[in-house]
């Protein structure tokens, strides 16, 4: 199944020049030229929904604009198959799931069926996540290079599932992970490519002050009080109760308000429970605002982040933590737990403050609220840090370099 039209927001590669500079775009074009004649075929499981589809929706058209023949194909599978891959996903994340041998057979069967139906027309076959991982059986027949892109944290996987997936991954020419501590030992080359945000998307673009004001009015927020905000889905792993405790410690000495904003995941029955617990915990406290944000509210989330004085991400466990990237890009001082990919983004005392406990979070928030100049300095660094390392243009550059480097074994490549 080939996707013909990409419903990407109107962003053109040239639109990024004011954000990252002309020379960066020139370099992307120069790299893209080196891939002339090569077809990059991305394969994943869906065109819509989920982080991978969102990234490809933006990346593929931009690669095309740079002159790279990038294509995007999806595998087909029934509900049962995706039920199994969902269990794979959870297991690889370390959650206990019952996976039967029938499940494994179904996984292999659907992959095999897709082998027969798919048209492999890429020189570089770029397979995303575990669902299509078994397509590697066609390596000898199609493509010059095969890459497996792992978008999930496989540092503590269910061993049985990982062994099953690993057997396929080991056949690829290279694997790509988002953070060093998301990886596993593999006999193939492994590259590190962090995710990115799109500075021109609704969630990250500049907003007029009227839009921000309208969000203040909508949720009855006090414009004159500093705002501490955690914008994340309602999940125990995001430690919303810890956030409330930290806020209460801060509130004893500094007049401020807390916003806990986020959605509930439809595939996570626990999230409703978390939301209820949070609501019960804060009832009667006028300085704490619990906002249930509906899906597709990117502009509202953007406005809330921009309205905040300090942004908090007190996760107990975290993937890469793109909500942190979004906050850093908005030049906000961030207090975040030293977990997962957050450590790549928040360099303690340079681009934000890291914490390891509720007390640590409270102390860091107080430091920032009482030292606005320091908070401002951190915020400015944070924005530059994201500009340099976590924007979609850097992501494009890494992909282009990845494709090129597969054809060269050395550490220094002259083109």
């Amino acid at each position: 199944m080939e996707k013909e039209i990409f419903h990407h927001p109107k962003a053109k590669i040239q639109d990024y020049v004011p954000v990252v500079g002309r020379s960066t775009i020139e370099e992307l074009r120069a790299l893209a030229e080196r891939l002339s004649g090569k077809v990059i075929q991305n394969i994943n499981s869906t065109f819509t929904g989920g982080g991978v589809a969102e990234i490809l929706t933006r990346m593929v058209p931009l690669l095309n604009q740079l002159g790279v023949d990038a294509r995007w194909t999806t595998i087909k599978g029934n509900e049962e198959f995706f039920g199994v891959t969902k269990k794979f996903h959870n297991s690889l994340h370390g959650r206990k799931e019952h996976i039967s041998s029938e499940d494994l057979s179904l996984f292999l069967e659907v992959n095999k069926k897709n082998v027969g139906e798919l048209i492999f027309d890429g020189d570089i076959i770029f397979v995303h996540d575990p669902q299509p991982v078994a397509l590697i059986s066609e390596k000898k027949r199609f493509g010059e290079k095969w890459i497996w892109r792992c978008h999930i944290d496989v540092s503590n996987p269910d061993k049985r599932v990982w062994e099953f997936v690993r057997n396929f991954v080991a056949e690829y020419d290279a694997a790509v992970f988002s953070a060093p501590n998301f990886t596993q030992q593999l006999p193939i080359r492994q590259f590190l490519i962090s995710p990115s945000i799109d500075p021109l998307s609704d969630k990250n673009k500049e907003l007029p002050s009227e839009v921000i004001d309208s969000v203040f009015d909508k949720y009855g927020l006090d414009k004159d009080k500093p705002i501490i905000a955690q914008i994340s889905r309602f999940d125990y792993l995001k430690d919303p109760l810890g956030v409330i405790q930290a806020f209460e410690m801060v509130r004893k000495s500094i007049d401020c308000q807390l916003i806990l904003a986020g959605g509930t995941a439809t595939d996570d029955p626990e999230s409703e429970k978390v939301l209820d617990e949070v609501r019960e915990r804060v009832s009667g406290n006028p300085d704490i605002h619990i906002l249930l944000i509906p899906p597709e509210s990117d502009i509202e989330i953007n406005a809330l982040q921009r309205a905040a004085t300090v942004i908090l991400q007190k996760s107990i466990k975290e993937g890469f933590g793109l909500t942190v990237t979004e906050a850093l890009w908005k030049g906000k001082p961030v207090v975040a737990s030293a977990v997962g990919g957050i450590q790549l983004q928040v360099k303690n005392k340079f681009t934000g403050l890291l914490c390891h406990s509720i007390e640590g979070a409270a102390y860091a928030i107080k430091r920032l609220l009482s030292n606005p100049e320091y908070a401002d300095w951190l915020g400015k660094n944070a924005r530059e840090h994201v500009r340099q390392n976590f924007l979609i243009t850097r992501h494009l550059k890494d992909y282009l370099l990845l494709f090129i480097s597969l054809y060269y074994p050395s550490d220094v490549i002259y083109l």
Binding site: S155, R189, F350, Q388, I404, S405, V412
Partner: protein
């Protein structure tokens, strides 16, 4: 015949006498007028004098003869119709002669004056002369038509409309041409000047034509700027001629991707043990990638070993010692690696291994894979060099300053090598070579180098 002459001798003689009288007067008048004009023009030293007098001498005589013929006919016995007809013919001959004389004179005078204008190449001499010829021919034809009583109003109208259409259709071109005259007249620019336009385009002026200015940019593009645009925009001109390099400087850029080695250390012993065997590209990555990753910070964080020891192991003393390793002192990665290992070993021998990192906070050894590719930018002299330096990416700057010096074993940065070897700019080369790049942000470093070069070419 004799009988006819005897009867009409008076009717023949009078016009002949009148004509001959005009002939004599013409010879006398031509000499007198020419002498007078000669004297007059000699006083004002006009360079067109000879051409003017030669033309007047010839034409004046012709016009006197035409006048003589006209007078002779008027006193002749021809019928009124015959007189009117011959009058028109003579008038037409006069107009043709006058037109011819004016065209001839104008052509020769224009050649003199156009040759005197500085930017001759800019001016299309033939085009101007042809335009003058056509103008006078058109005027002459209109007068002739008027003499023969042919209505000229429709023709004048058609010509006017045609002219307006041409002007409207080529108004940009006309603007360019007028701007070209302005450029030719003034001393705004000349071929060989280095110009920088408001739009950011820059380079050496390689040609000036009537329609545009051609600029050769440092990335080897030819930029055509319409004259009208050029005269309206703000330009900076650097006129001082600069010494050309023996070899031009080609700017390269370096982009890197991170490759995981799969190796990780949980404590100091493991850190040292792994560090001994990893490739240079790993040591290079952990001692340099912050230069780009944190290029906005000054002072930048120290190397990643120091950061990890401080943040994860919590050994601030060792972290300080590692931070204090001056990367600029080393000319090879091997020496730098030995120094890092020695500092950690010293600590291990006195205070032991210390804390072990929590799961997820281990030190991951990462390799930097560099892709080096040429940019379109080339500099032939210091002016071009400084202007390119303003616009290349920080990756390019990083490559020529850091990567070449240490990882590619050149010992000194590329800029200093080129300045010394190809431009014989020893002082400038030394000033850049002694800058410790680790003490600047990349943008800060760019600024300092630009200042040093600007100072030199001022």
């Amino acid at each position: 015949m004799i009988e006819w002459l005897t009867k009409n001798w008076l009717s023949i003689t009078v016009p002949a006498v009148v004509f001959l009288s005009f002939f004599v007067v013409a010879i006398w008048a031509r000499r007198t007028v020419c002498n007078y004009l000669n004297e007059l023009l000699s006083k004002i030293k006009w360079e067109g004098r000879e051409i003017f007098l030669q033309r007047i001498r010839l034409s004046f005589f012709q016009w006197c003869l035409i006048l003589g013929a006209y007078a002779a006919i008027q006193v002749s016995i021809l019928s009124p119709y015959g007189k009117a007809l011959t009058g028109k013919i003579l008038g037409s001959i006069f107009v043709i002669s006058l037109t011819w004389a004016i065209i001839n004179l104008a052509e020769k005078l224009l050649k003199i004056y156009l040759n005197k204008i500085k930017a001759l190449s800019l001016l299309p001499t033939n085009l101007i002369i042809n335009a003058v010829r056509i103008t006078f021919v058109v005027v002459g034809v209109l007068i002739l038509l008027d003499i023969w009583l042919i209505p000229t109003t429709p023709l004048v109208l058609v010509l006017t409309i045609g002219l307006l259409v041409i002007i409207l259709a080529s108004r940009d071109e006309i603007l360019n041409i007028f701007s070209g005259f302005e450029l030719a007249r003034g001393s705004l620019i000349k071929i060989g000047d280095y110009v920088k336009l408001e739009s950011g385009e820059e380079g050496y002026v390689s040609n000036i034509t009537l329609r545009n200015i051609q600029i050769k940019s440092s990335d080897d593009r030819t930029i055509l700027v319409p004259n009208s645009k050029f005269t309206k925009t703000t330009i900076t001109t650097y006129r001082k001629p600069l010494k050309k390099a023996i070899q031009p400087f080609r700017f390269y850029t370096q982009l890197h991707i991170k490759e995981l080695t799969g190796l990780k250390a949980r404590n100091l012993s493991e850190l040292v043990s792994i560090l001994k065997d990893v490739p240079d590209s790993v040591v290079y990555y952990h001692t340099h990638h912050f230069v780009e990753e944190y290029q906005y910070l000054t002072p930048q964080p120290a190397n990643e070993f120091a950061l990890w020891v401080s943040d994860v192991i919590g050994d601030e003393i060792l972290a300080e010692k590692l931070s204090n390793i001056d990367t600029f002192e080393f000319s090879t990665i091997g020496e730098l690696r030995e120094r890092v290992i020695a500092v950690i070993n010293e600590e291990l021998s006195t205070r032991g291994d210390g804390r072990t990192a929590f799961e997820g906070r281990e030190f991951h050894f990462i390799k930097s894979v560099s892709v080096i590719l040429p940019t379109p930018y080339v500099a032939h002299d210091l002016r071009e060099f400084v202007e390119v330096l303003r616009k290349v990416s920080i990756d390019s700057l990083y490559f020529h300053i850091f990567e070449s010096r240490l990882r590619l074993h050149r010992g000194v940065n590329d800029f200093s090598i080129w300045l010394q070897d190809c431009l014989d700019e020893r002082d400038l080369a030394d000033k850049i070579a002694v800058l410790d790049p680790y003490n600047y942000t990349l943008e800060g470093l760019r600024f300092v180098i630009i200042q040093l070069i600007e100072e030199r070419i001022k």
